[in-house]
Protein backbone atom coordinates (compact mmCIF):
# COMPACT_ATOMS: atom_id res chain seq x y z
CA UNK A 1 0.00 0.00 0.00
CA UNK A 2 1.27 3.46 -0.85
CA UNK A 3 2.35 5.66 2.06
CA UNK A 4 -0.38 8.00 3.29
CA UNK A 5 1.00 11.55 3.15
CA UNK A 6 -1.19 13.18 5.79
CA UNK A 7 -0.55 16.93 5.86
CA UNK A 8 0.52 18.40 9.18
CA UNK A 9 -1.58 21.33 10.39
CA UNK A 10 -0.49 24.90 9.74
CA UNK A 11 -1.08 27.09 12.78
CA UNK A 12 -0.81 30.87 12.33
CA UNK A 13 2.37 31.81 14.25
CA UNK A 14 2.28 34.35 17.05
CA UNK A 15 4.72 36.57 15.17
CA UNK A 16 2.02 37.54 12.67
CA UNK A 17 0.22 39.64 15.27
CA UNK A 18 2.84 40.53 17.86
CA UNK A 19 6.63 40.53 18.18
CA UNK A 20 7.90 37.20 19.53
CA UNK A 21 10.56 37.12 22.24
CA UNK A 22 13.95 36.22 20.78
CA UNK A 23 14.35 32.45 20.35
CA UNK A 24 17.59 30.74 21.36
CA UNK A 25 17.59 28.63 18.17
CA UNK A 26 15.77 28.78 14.83
CA UNK A 27 16.09 25.64 12.70
CA UNK A 28 15.39 26.03 8.98
CA UNK A 29 14.02 22.80 7.51
CA UNK A 30 12.00 19.98 9.09
CA UNK A 31 13.67 17.09 7.26
CA UNK A 32 15.38 14.32 9.22
CA UNK A 33 18.32 16.57 10.08
CA UNK A 34 16.33 19.59 11.26
CA UNK A 35 13.96 17.43 13.30
CA UNK A 36 16.80 15.43 14.88
CA UNK A 37 18.54 18.71 15.72
CA UNK A 38 15.43 20.06 17.48
CA UNK A 39 14.99 16.83 19.46
CA UNK A 40 18.66 16.71 20.48
CA UNK A 41 18.46 20.30 21.76
CA UNK A 42 15.10 19.71 23.47
CA UNK A 43 16.53 16.72 25.34
CA UNK A 44 19.13 19.15 26.68
CA UNK A 45 16.44 21.67 27.66
CA UNK A 46 17.14 24.07 24.77
CA UNK A 47 14.00 25.36 23.03
CA UNK A 48 13.91 25.83 19.28
CA UNK A 49 11.54 26.92 16.56
CA UNK A 50 11.57 24.72 13.43
CA UNK A 51 10.51 26.38 10.17
CA UNK A 52 9.51 24.38 7.11
CA UNK A 53 8.08 25.61 3.82
CA UNK A 54 6.10 22.38 3.38
CA UNK A 55 3.58 20.43 5.45
CA UNK A 56 4.14 16.79 4.51
CA UNK A 57 7.02 14.41 5.15
CA UNK A 58 9.51 13.56 2.39
CA UNK A 59 7.74 12.63 -0.84
CA UNK A 60 9.33 9.45 -2.14
CA UNK A 61 11.51 7.10 -0.13
CA UNK A 62 14.74 9.10 -0.80
CA UNK A 63 17.23 8.24 1.95
CA UNK A 64 16.62 4.60 2.84
CA UNK A 65 19.84 3.18 4.34
CA UNK A 66 20.46 3.96 7.99
CA UNK A 67 23.79 2.84 9.39
CA UNK A 68 24.47 1.38 12.81
CA UNK A 69 26.00 4.56 14.23
CA UNK A 70 23.00 6.58 13.01
CA UNK A 71 20.62 4.13 14.66
CA UNK A 72 22.59 4.46 17.89
CA UNK A 73 22.20 8.25 17.71
CA UNK A 74 18.50 7.82 16.94
CA UNK A 75 18.31 5.53 19.97
CA UNK A 76 19.47 8.44 22.11
CA UNK A 77 16.90 10.69 20.40
CA UNK A 78 14.12 8.20 21.19
CA UNK A 79 13.28 6.80 17.74
CA UNK A 80 15.92 4.10 17.20
CA UNK A 81 13.86 1.16 18.45
CA UNK A 82 10.85 2.20 16.38
CA UNK A 83 13.04 2.44 13.27
CA UNK A 84 14.60 -0.95 13.93
CA UNK A 85 11.18 -2.56 14.43
CA UNK A 86 9.85 -1.19 11.13
CA UNK A 87 13.01 -1.30 9.03
CA UNK A 88 14.39 -4.16 6.97
CA UNK A 89 17.64 -5.56 8.32
CA UNK A 90 19.83 -6.76 5.46
CA UNK A 91 20.96 -10.33 5.59
CA UNK A 92 22.72 -11.31 2.39
CA UNK A 93 24.54 -9.27 -0.22
CA UNK A 94 25.25 -10.66 -3.69
CA UNK A 95 27.58 -9.17 -6.27
CA UNK A 96 27.06 -10.07 -9.89
CA UNK A 97 29.15 -9.52 -12.99
CA UNK A 98 27.12 -10.02 -16.15
CA UNK A 99 24.92 -13.02 -15.47
CA UNK A 100 27.36 -14.61 -13.04
CA UNK A 101 27.33 -14.31 -9.27
CA UNK A 102 30.84 -13.28 -8.28
CA UNK A 103 30.28 -13.87 -4.59
CA UNK A 104 27.80 -13.52 -1.76
CA UNK A 105 28.39 -12.22 1.72
CA UNK A 106 26.45 -12.61 4.92
CA UNK A 107 25.65 -9.40 6.75
CA UNK A 108 24.87 -11.18 10.01
CA UNK A 109 26.00 -8.72 12.65
CA UNK A 110 28.72 -9.36 15.16
CA UNK A 111 27.21 -10.47 18.48
CA UNK A 112 26.72 -8.03 21.29
CA UNK A 113 25.44 -4.90 19.54
CA UNK A 114 21.98 -3.41 20.03
CA UNK A 115 21.77 -2.31 16.38
CA UNK A 116 22.71 -4.10 13.14
CA UNK A 117 25.15 -2.74 10.54
CA UNK A 118 22.36 -1.23 8.46
CA UNK A 119 18.61 -1.11 8.05
CA UNK A 120 16.52 0.05 5.12
CA UNK A 121 13.65 2.38 5.97
CA UNK A 122 12.02 5.02 3.81
CA UNK A 123 12.79 8.62 4.71
CA UNK A 124 9.07 9.40 5.12
CA UNK A 125 8.84 6.93 8.02
CA UNK A 126 11.92 8.41 9.67
CA UNK A 127 10.45 11.91 9.40
CA UNK A 128 7.08 10.71 10.69
CA UNK A 129 8.72 9.09 13.74
CA UNK A 130 10.81 12.21 14.37
CA UNK A 131 7.74 14.46 14.19
CA UNK A 132 5.93 12.16 16.64
CA UNK A 133 8.95 12.32 18.92
CA UNK A 134 9.21 16.12 18.59
CA UNK A 135 5.61 16.33 19.83
CA UNK A 136 6.83 14.87 23.15
CA UNK A 137 8.39 18.30 23.78
CA UNK A 138 5.50 20.76 23.31
CA UNK A 139 7.17 23.41 25.46
CA UNK A 140 10.55 23.09 23.75
CA UNK A 141 9.95 22.35 20.06
CA UNK A 142 7.81 24.84 18.15
CA UNK A 143 7.21 23.11 14.81
CA UNK A 144 5.89 25.53 12.17
CA UNK A 145 4.74 24.09 8.85
CA UNK A 146 4.16 26.33 5.83
CA UNK A 147 6.58 28.87 7.27
CA UNK A 148 9.03 29.68 4.47
CA UNK A 149 12.19 31.58 5.39
CA UNK A 150 12.69 34.10 2.58
CA UNK A 151 15.48 36.22 4.04
CA UNK A 152 17.76 36.47 7.02
CA UNK A 153 20.40 38.75 8.48
CA UNK A 154 23.23 38.06 10.93
CA UNK A 155 23.31 40.87 13.52
CA UNK A 156 26.49 39.71 15.23
CA UNK A 157 24.93 38.45 18.46
CA UNK A 158 21.72 37.15 16.89
CA UNK A 159 19.96 36.56 13.57
CA UNK A 160 16.75 37.97 12.11
CA UNK A 161 14.62 35.79 9.85
CA UNK A 162 11.94 36.96 7.44
CA UNK A 163 9.25 34.34 7.07
CA UNK A 164 6.26 33.97 4.77
CA UNK A 165 3.11 32.09 5.75
CA UNK A 166 -0.30 31.55 4.12
CA UNK A 167 -1.44 34.47 6.33
CA UNK A 168 1.36 36.83 5.32
CA UNK A 169 4.91 37.66 6.42
CA UNK A 170 6.49 38.12 9.84
CA UNK A 171 9.95 38.36 11.34
CA UNK A 172 11.57 36.41 14.09
CA UNK A 173 14.83 36.78 16.02
CA UNK A 174 17.03 33.91 17.11
CA UNK A 175 20.40 33.77 18.84
CA UNK A 176 21.47 30.96 16.50
CA UNK A 177 20.16 29.95 13.09
CA UNK A 178 20.74 26.37 11.98
CA UNK A 179 20.38 25.77 8.24
CA UNK A 180 19.07 22.25 7.71
CA UNK A 181 17.54 23.22 4.39
CA UNK A 182 19.13 20.55 2.23
CA UNK A 183 21.41 20.25 -0.78
CA UNK A 184 19.87 23.27 -2.52
CA UNK A 185 20.02 25.30 0.73
CA UNK A 186 18.33 28.69 0.17
CA UNK A 187 20.23 29.95 3.24
CA UNK A 188 23.57 29.08 1.63
CA UNK A 189 22.55 30.60 -1.71
CA UNK A 190 21.34 33.79 -0.04
CA UNK A 191 24.72 34.16 1.65
CA UNK A 192 26.46 33.66 -1.68
CA UNK A 193 28.71 30.93 -0.28
CA UNK A 194 30.71 29.06 -2.88
CA UNK A 195 29.62 25.44 -3.21
CA UNK A 196 31.82 23.98 -5.93
CA UNK A 197 33.25 20.52 -6.33
CA UNK A 198 33.33 17.37 -8.40
CA UNK A 199 30.18 16.97 -10.52
CA UNK A 200 29.60 13.52 -11.95
CA UNK A 201 28.21 13.33 -15.47
CA UNK A 202 26.52 9.97 -15.02
CA UNK A 203 22.82 9.90 -14.50
CA UNK A 204 21.01 7.35 -12.40
CA UNK A 205 17.42 6.19 -12.29
CA UNK A 206 15.79 5.29 -8.99
CA UNK A 207 12.54 3.37 -9.11
CA UNK A 208 10.67 2.11 -6.06
CA UNK A 209 8.22 -0.65 -6.80
CA UNK A 210 5.73 -2.44 -4.59
CA UNK A 211 5.71 -6.18 -5.23
CA UNK A 212 3.97 -8.92 -3.32
CA UNK A 213 6.38 -11.61 -4.54
CA UNK A 214 9.97 -10.90 -3.61
CA UNK A 215 12.26 -10.53 -6.62
CA UNK A 216 14.83 -12.32 -4.44
CA UNK A 217 12.60 -15.38 -4.20
CA UNK A 218 12.04 -15.33 -0.44
CA UNK A 219 10.78 -12.10 1.14
CA UNK A 220 11.78 -13.39 4.57
CA UNK A 221 15.46 -13.19 3.61
CA UNK A 222 16.13 -9.59 2.58
CA UNK A 223 19.01 -9.43 0.17
CA UNK A 224 20.93 -6.73 -1.62
CA UNK A 225 21.93 -7.44 -5.22
CA UNK A 226 24.44 -5.39 -7.09
CA UNK A 227 25.36 -5.97 -10.73
CA UNK A 228 28.36 -4.76 -12.65
CA UNK A 229 27.40 -4.92 -16.31
CA UNK A 230 24.11 -6.84 -15.91
CA UNK A 231 22.67 -8.83 -18.83
CA UNK A 232 19.51 -6.70 -18.70
CA UNK A 233 21.37 -3.38 -18.70
CA UNK A 234 24.57 -3.69 -20.74
CA UNK A 235 27.69 -1.92 -19.67
CA UNK A 236 26.10 -0.19 -16.68
CA UNK A 237 25.46 -0.98 -13.03
CA UNK A 238 22.28 -1.94 -11.22
CA UNK A 239 21.22 -2.27 -7.60
CA UNK A 240 18.19 -3.94 -6.07
CA UNK A 241 17.30 -3.90 -2.39
CA UNK A 242 14.34 -4.16 -0.10
CA UNK A 243 12.40 -1.66 2.00
CA UNK A 244 9.47 -2.27 4.37
CA UNK A 245 5.92 -2.70 3.00
CA UNK A 246 7.14 -4.91 0.11
CA UNK A 247 8.78 -1.94 -1.57
CA UNK A 248 11.91 -2.65 -3.60
CA UNK A 249 14.46 -0.05 -4.64
CA UNK A 250 15.98 -0.33 -8.09
CA UNK A 251 18.90 1.92 -8.96
CA UNK A 252 20.14 1.91 -12.56
CA UNK A 253 23.04 3.77 -14.09
CA UNK A 254 21.98 5.60 -17.26
CA UNK A 255 23.87 7.01 -20.22
CA UNK A 256 25.69 10.26 -19.64
CA UNK A 257 23.57 12.00 -22.25
CA UNK A 258 20.25 10.33 -21.37
CA UNK A 259 17.16 12.54 -21.45
CA UNK A 260 16.21 12.75 -17.75
CA UNK A 261 12.57 13.58 -18.36
CA UNK A 262 12.09 10.77 -20.87
CA UNK A 263 13.91 8.28 -18.63
CA UNK A 264 11.54 9.09 -15.74
CA UNK A 265 8.47 8.36 -17.87
CA UNK A 266 6.52 5.15 -17.25
CA UNK A 267 6.97 4.10 -20.88
CA UNK A 268 10.73 3.95 -20.33
CA UNK A 269 10.78 2.80 -16.70
CA UNK A 270 8.34 -0.13 -16.82
CA UNK A 271 10.28 -2.15 -19.45
CA UNK A 272 13.51 -1.59 -17.50
CA UNK A 273 11.86 -3.00 -14.37
CA UNK A 274 10.30 -5.90 -16.29
CA UNK A 275 13.79 -6.82 -17.48
CA UNK A 276 14.82 -7.28 -13.84
CA UNK A 277 11.77 -8.72 -12.08
CA UNK A 278 10.12 -10.52 -15.01
CA UNK A 279 6.37 -10.92 -15.24
CA UNK A 280 5.57 -10.64 -11.55
CA UNK A 281 2.97 -7.92 -10.92
CA UNK A 282 4.19 -4.69 -9.34
CA UNK A 283 3.08 -1.13 -8.65
CA UNK A 284 5.39 1.79 -9.44
CA UNK A 285 5.68 3.83 -6.24
CA UNK A 286 8.25 6.53 -6.99
CA UNK A 287 10.67 7.41 -9.78
CA UNK A 288 13.54 9.86 -9.82
CA UNK A 289 16.38 10.53 -12.27
CA UNK A 290 19.36 12.19 -10.69
CA UNK A 291 22.92 13.38 -11.09
CA UNK A 292 25.05 14.20 -8.14
CA UNK A 293 27.98 16.22 -6.91
CA UNK A 294 30.54 15.73 -4.17
CA UNK A 295 31.01 19.07 -2.43
CA UNK A 296 31.33 20.63 0.97
CA UNK A 297 31.29 24.16 2.27
CA UNK A 298 34.67 25.64 3.22
CA UNK A 299 33.23 26.60 6.61
CA UNK A 300 30.20 25.01 8.29
CA UNK A 301 29.88 27.91 10.76
CA UNK A 302 29.41 31.50 9.60
CA UNK A 303 28.94 33.81 12.56
CA UNK A 304 25.54 32.94 14.01
CA UNK A 305 24.52 30.71 11.10
CA UNK A 306 25.44 27.01 11.29
CA UNK A 307 25.10 24.58 8.37
CA UNK A 308 24.13 21.01 9.17
CA UNK A 309 23.53 18.04 6.85
CA UNK A 310 23.19 18.39 3.07
CA UNK A 311 23.28 22.20 3.25
CA UNK A 312 26.94 21.81 4.34
CA UNK A 313 28.00 18.82 2.24
CA UNK A 314 26.63 16.61 -0.50
CA UNK A 315 27.92 13.21 -1.62
CA UNK A 316 26.99 10.58 -4.15
CA UNK A 317 24.45 8.12 -2.78
CA UNK A 318 26.82 5.12 -2.97
CA UNK A 319 27.70 4.16 0.56
CA UNK A 320 24.72 5.93 2.12
CA UNK A 321 26.67 8.83 3.52
CA UNK A 322 24.20 11.69 3.01
CA UNK A 323 21.56 11.15 5.68
CA UNK A 324 23.97 9.21 7.86
CA UNK A 325 26.57 11.97 7.68
CA UNK A 326 23.96 14.60 8.54
CA UNK A 327 22.82 12.75 11.67
CA UNK A 328 26.42 12.62 12.83
CA UNK A 329 26.59 16.41 12.34
CA UNK A 330 23.59 16.74 14.65
CA UNK A 331 25.21 14.44 17.22
CA UNK A 332 28.38 16.53 17.15
CA UNK A 333 26.69 19.94 17.31
CA UNK A 334 23.86 19.29 19.79
CA UNK A 335 25.82 19.08 23.03
CA UNK A 336 28.22 21.83 22.00
CA UNK A 337 25.52 24.34 21.13
CA UNK A 338 23.59 23.48 24.30
CA UNK A 339 26.74 24.03 26.39
CA UNK A 340 27.38 27.41 24.73
CA UNK A 341 23.76 28.52 25.17
CA UNK A 342 23.83 27.46 28.85
CA UNK A 343 27.04 29.46 29.33
CA UNK A 344 29.08 26.35 30.20
CA UNK A 345 31.36 26.78 27.23
CA UNK A 346 32.68 29.58 25.13
CA UNK A 347 31.36 30.08 21.58
CA UNK A 348 34.70 28.77 20.23
CA UNK A 349 33.38 25.28 20.97
CA UNK A 350 31.04 25.73 17.98
CA UNK A 351 34.14 26.12 15.78
CA UNK A 352 35.18 22.57 16.70
CA UNK A 353 31.91 21.38 15.14
CA UNK A 354 33.27 22.63 11.83
CA UNK A 355 36.72 21.09 12.41
CA UNK A 356 35.42 17.66 13.32
CA UNK A 357 32.51 17.35 10.90
CA UNK A 358 34.34 18.89 7.97
CA UNK A 359 36.84 16.07 8.47
CA UNK A 360 34.03 13.49 8.61
CA UNK A 361 32.44 14.96 5.53
CA UNK A 362 35.75 14.89 3.60
CA UNK A 363 36.04 11.18 4.46
CA UNK A 364 32.50 10.59 3.20
CA UNK A 365 33.20 12.47 -0.02
CA UNK A 366 36.40 10.47 -0.61
CA UNK A 367 34.64 7.14 -0.09
CA UNK A 368 31.58 7.94 -2.16
CA UNK A 369 33.67 9.43 -5.01
CA UNK A 370 35.79 6.28 -5.11
CA UNK A 371 32.71 4.05 -5.24
CA UNK A 372 31.29 6.16 -8.05
CA UNK A 373 34.55 6.03 -9.99
CA UNK A 374 34.70 2.26 -9.62
CA UNK A 375 31.12 1.90 -10.84
CA UNK A 376 31.63 4.20 -13.81
CA UNK A 377 35.09 3.61 -15.33
CA UNK A 378 36.18 6.67 -17.32
CA UNK A 379 38.82 5.17 -19.62
CA UNK A 380 39.46 1.80 -21.33
CA UNK A 381 42.27 1.16 -18.85
CA UNK A 382 40.02 1.78 -15.85
CA UNK A 383 37.46 -0.54 -17.42
CA UNK A 384 40.17 -3.17 -17.98
CA UNK A 385 41.39 -3.06 -14.38
CA UNK A 386 37.84 -3.34 -13.14
CA UNK A 387 36.97 -6.24 -15.44
CA UNK A 388 40.04 -8.18 -14.29
CA UNK A 389 39.39 -7.36 -10.61
CA UNK A 390 35.90 -8.81 -11.13
CA UNK A 391 37.37 -11.91 -12.77
CA UNK A 392 39.82 -12.47 -9.90
CA UNK A 393 37.09 -11.80 -7.34
CA UNK A 394 35.46 -15.15 -8.09
CA UNK A 395 38.31 -16.80 -6.13
CA UNK A 396 40.71 -14.26 -4.70
CA UNK A 397 39.61 -12.67 -1.39
CA UNK A 398 41.78 -9.57 -1.93
CA UNK A 399 40.03 -8.86 -5.25
CA UNK A 400 36.61 -9.17 -3.62
CA UNK A 401 37.55 -6.40 -1.25
CA UNK A 402 38.60 -4.19 -4.16
CA UNK A 403 35.11 -4.37 -5.71
CA UNK A 404 33.42 -1.17 -4.69
CA UNK A 405 29.67 -0.64 -4.97
CA UNK A 406 29.69 1.71 -1.98
CA UNK A 407 31.59 1.27 1.28
CA UNK A 408 29.26 1.01 4.27
CA UNK A 409 29.08 4.27 6.16
CA UNK A 410 31.27 4.05 9.24
CA UNK A 411 31.63 6.83 11.82
CA UNK A 412 34.91 8.70 11.48
CA UNK A 413 37.53 8.88 14.18
CA UNK A 414 38.20 12.29 15.74
CA UNK A 415 41.69 11.28 16.84
CA UNK A 416 44.13 14.15 16.81
CA UNK A 417 41.53 16.93 17.07
CA UNK A 418 41.88 19.53 19.79
CA UNK A 419 39.10 18.34 22.12
CA UNK A 420 40.61 14.89 22.64
CA UNK A 421 43.36 14.21 25.17
CA UNK A 422 45.93 12.08 23.31
CA UNK A 423 46.67 8.70 24.81
CA UNK A 424 47.15 5.04 24.02
CA UNK A 425 44.24 2.67 24.51
CA UNK A 426 42.56 -0.27 22.83
CA UNK A 427 39.90 2.23 21.71
CA UNK A 428 42.02 5.35 21.11
CA UNK A 429 40.74 8.82 22.03
CA UNK A 430 38.64 10.18 19.18
CA UNK A 431 37.08 6.79 18.38
CA UNK A 432 33.30 6.55 18.25
CA UNK A 433 31.58 4.51 20.92
CA UNK A 434 31.55 0.75 20.37
CA UNK A 435 28.38 -0.70 21.83
CA UNK A 436 28.29 -3.72 24.16
CA UNK A 437 25.63 -5.46 26.24
CA UNK A 438 25.65 -4.91 30.01
CA UNK A 439 23.66 -6.23 32.95
CA UNK A 440 22.97 -4.16 36.06
CA UNK A 441 20.67 -3.83 39.06
CA UNK A 442 17.83 -2.84 36.74
CA UNK A 443 18.31 -5.66 34.28
CA UNK A 444 19.89 -5.80 30.87
CA UNK A 445 21.06 -2.67 29.13
CA UNK A 446 23.57 -1.45 26.53
CA UNK A 447 26.70 0.61 26.89
CA UNK A 448 25.25 3.17 24.47
CA UNK A 449 22.24 3.64 26.77
CA UNK A 450 24.43 4.27 29.81
CA UNK A 451 27.00 6.49 28.10
CA UNK A 452 25.41 8.64 25.41
CA UNK A 453 23.95 12.06 26.17
CA UNK A 454 26.34 13.31 28.85
CA UNK A 455 30.02 13.22 29.66
CA UNK A 456 30.55 9.82 31.29
CA UNK A 457 33.56 8.24 32.94
CA UNK A 458 33.51 4.46 32.57
CA UNK A 459 35.86 2.16 34.47
CA UNK A 460 36.40 -1.19 32.77
CA UNK A 461 37.64 -3.93 35.11
CA UNK A 462 40.54 -3.39 37.43
CA UNK A 463 40.79 0.40 37.59
CA UNK A 464 39.81 2.75 40.41
CA UNK A 465 37.64 5.73 39.49
CA UNK A 466 38.29 8.96 41.41
CA UNK A 467 35.55 10.78 43.23
CA UNK A 468 34.38 13.46 40.78
CA UNK A 469 31.37 15.31 42.24
CA UNK A 470 28.28 15.80 40.03
CA UNK A 471 29.74 13.69 37.26
CA UNK A 472 28.32 10.55 35.71
CA UNK A 473 30.56 7.58 36.50
CA UNK A 474 29.83 3.93 35.87
CA UNK A 475 31.77 0.72 36.32
CA UNK A 476 31.83 -2.30 34.03
CA UNK A 477 33.11 -5.59 35.38
CA UNK A 478 33.98 -3.98 38.70
CA UNK A 479 33.14 -4.79 42.31
CA UNK A 480 30.40 -2.74 43.96
CA UNK A 481 31.27 0.93 44.24
CA UNK A 482 29.43 4.13 45.08
CA UNK A 483 28.54 4.55 41.40
CA UNK A 484 26.37 2.22 39.25
CA UNK A 485 28.16 -0.97 38.26
CA UNK A 486 27.34 -3.42 35.49
CA UNK A 487 28.63 -6.78 34.46
CA UNK A 488 29.95 -7.17 30.92
CA UNK A 489 27.52 -9.64 29.36
CA UNK A 490 29.53 -12.44 27.70
CA UNK A 491 32.62 -10.29 28.30
CA UNK A 492 31.94 -8.21 25.17
CA UNK A 493 32.53 -4.82 26.84
CA UNK A 494 35.85 -5.69 28.48
CA UNK A 495 37.02 -7.52 25.36
CA UNK A 496 36.31 -4.40 23.30
CA UNK A 497 37.70 -1.79 25.70
CA UNK A 498 40.17 -3.59 27.96
CA UNK A 499 39.95 -4.73 31.57
CA UNK A 500 42.07 -2.25 33.51
CA UNK A 501 41.30 1.11 31.98
CA UNK A 502 38.93 4.06 32.31
CA UNK A 503 37.49 6.00 29.38
CA UNK A 504 35.98 9.45 29.33
CA UNK A 505 33.18 9.59 26.75
CA UNK A 506 31.86 12.82 25.26
CA UNK A 507 28.08 13.35 25.13
CA UNK A 508 28.17 12.17 21.49
CA UNK A 509 29.87 8.94 22.52
CA UNK A 510 33.32 9.70 21.12
CA UNK A 511 36.19 8.80 23.45
CA UNK A 512 37.66 12.04 24.83
CA UNK A 513 40.40 10.46 26.93
CA UNK A 514 41.60 7.16 28.38
CA UNK A 515 43.34 6.61 31.71
CA UNK A 516 45.14 3.74 33.42
CA UNK A 517 45.16 5.51 36.81
CA UNK A 518 42.71 8.41 36.60
CA UNK A 519 42.85 11.13 39.25
CA UNK A 520 40.08 13.68 39.78
CA UNK A 521 42.43 16.33 38.34
CA UNK A 522 43.13 14.26 35.19
CA UNK A 523 39.43 13.80 34.55
CA UNK A 524 38.63 17.47 35.19
CA UNK A 525 41.42 18.53 32.83
CA UNK A 526 40.20 16.19 30.07
CA UNK A 527 36.61 17.38 30.48
CA UNK A 528 37.70 21.02 30.31
CA UNK A 529 39.69 20.26 27.18
CA UNK A 530 36.69 18.49 25.60
CA UNK A 531 34.60 21.58 26.40
CA UNK A 532 37.02 23.67 24.36
CA UNK A 533 38.75 25.33 27.31
CA UNK A 534 42.45 25.92 26.80
CA UNK A 535 44.74 24.31 29.39
CA UNK A 536 45.63 27.77 30.79
CA UNK A 537 41.98 28.64 31.36
CA UNK A 538 41.03 25.22 32.76
Amino acid sequence: MAYDYTPYPYVPPKGLTQAEPRHPVAIVGAGPIGLAMAIDLAQRGVPSVVLDDNNVVSVGSRAICWAKRTLEIFDRLGVGERMLAKGVTWKIGRQFHGNQEVYAFDLLPEDGHKYPAFINLQQYYVEEYLIDRARDFPGLIDLRFKNRVVDHADRGDHTVLNIETPDGPYTLEADWMIACDGAGSPTRNRMGLSFEGQTFQEQFLIADIEMKDSPFGDAAVPERWFWFDPPFHNGKSALLHMQPDNIYRIDLQLDVDADAKLEASEDKVIPRIRAIVGDKPFRLDWVSVYKFRCIKLDRFVHGRVIFVGDSAHVVSPFGARGGNGGIQDVDNLGWKLAAVIAGHANADLIGTYHDERSHGSAENILNSSRATNFMTPKTPIEALFRAEALRLAHDQPFARRILNSGRLSMPCSLEGFALQTPGAAQVPPGSPLIDAPLAGDHGETWLLREVQGDFTLVGFGDVALPDVPDFRCIGVGQRAADYPCFTATHGHATRRYGSDIAYLFRPDGHVAAAFRHPSAEDVARAVARAMGKTPEAA
Binding site: R370, N373, E382, L392, F398, I402
Partner: protein
Protein backbone atom coordinates in the same frame (compact mmCIF):
# COMPACT_ATOMS: atom_id res chain seq x y z
CA UNK B 1 45.90 -21.80 -9.33
CA UNK B 2 46.75 -20.42 -5.92
CA UNK B 3 44.41 -18.49 -3.65
CA UNK B 4 46.48 -15.74 -2.09
CA UNK B 5 45.82 -14.23 1.32
CA UNK B 6 44.50 -10.66 1.22
CA UNK B 7 47.34 -8.27 2.04
CA UNK B 8 45.73 -5.04 0.89
CA UNK B 9 42.82 -4.75 3.32
CA UNK B 10 41.92 -2.33 4.90
CA UNK B 11 43.81 0.02 2.53
CA UNK B 12 42.56 -1.68 -0.65
CA UNK B 13 40.73 1.44 -1.86
CA UNK B 14 43.86 3.57 -1.38
CA UNK B 15 45.88 1.02 -3.34
CA UNK B 16 43.37 0.71 -6.17
CA UNK B 17 43.00 4.47 -6.48
CA UNK B 18 46.78 4.96 -6.49
CA UNK B 19 46.88 2.62 -9.50
CA UNK B 20 44.10 4.50 -11.27
CA UNK B 21 45.76 7.83 -10.49
CA UNK B 22 49.02 6.58 -12.02
CA UNK B 23 47.19 6.14 -15.35
CA UNK B 24 45.51 9.53 -15.23
CA UNK B 25 45.88 11.43 -18.50
CA UNK B 26 47.74 8.65 -20.37
CA UNK B 27 46.74 7.29 -23.77
CA UNK B 28 45.84 3.63 -23.90
CA UNK B 29 49.23 2.75 -25.41
CA UNK B 30 51.02 4.74 -22.72
CA UNK B 31 48.94 2.97 -20.07
CA UNK B 32 49.95 -0.46 -21.38
CA UNK B 33 53.57 0.64 -21.36
CA UNK B 34 53.16 1.87 -17.78
CA UNK B 35 51.65 -1.49 -16.81
CA UNK B 36 54.62 -3.33 -18.36
CA UNK B 37 57.14 -1.17 -16.49
CA UNK B 38 55.18 -1.59 -13.30
CA UNK B 39 55.11 -5.39 -13.63
CA UNK B 40 58.88 -5.45 -14.21
CA UNK B 41 59.43 -3.26 -11.15
CA UNK B 42 57.13 -5.43 -9.06
CA UNK B 43 58.87 -8.61 -10.28
CA UNK B 44 62.14 -7.12 -9.13
CA UNK B 45 60.61 -6.23 -5.75
CA UNK B 46 59.26 -9.78 -5.40
CA UNK B 47 62.69 -11.03 -6.35
CA UNK B 48 61.76 -14.73 -6.18
CA UNK B 49 61.35 -16.70 -9.39
CA UNK B 50 59.23 -19.40 -7.72
CA UNK B 51 56.74 -16.88 -6.39
CA UNK B 52 56.68 -15.10 -9.72
CA UNK B 53 56.04 -18.31 -11.67
CA UNK B 54 53.16 -19.14 -9.34
CA UNK B 55 51.64 -15.68 -9.85
CA UNK B 56 52.02 -15.99 -13.63
CA UNK B 57 50.34 -19.40 -13.66
CA UNK B 58 47.46 -18.11 -11.54
CA UNK B 59 46.98 -15.01 -13.68
CA UNK B 60 47.10 -17.08 -16.85
CA UNK B 61 44.65 -19.59 -15.38
CA UNK B 62 41.67 -17.25 -15.59
CA UNK B 63 39.95 -17.90 -18.90
CA UNK B 64 38.74 -15.22 -21.27
CA UNK B 65 35.36 -16.51 -22.34
Amino acid sequence: MTIYPDRLSPRQDDVYNALMDAHEGLSEAESHALNARLILLMANQIGDLGVLRDLLTTARGYSHD
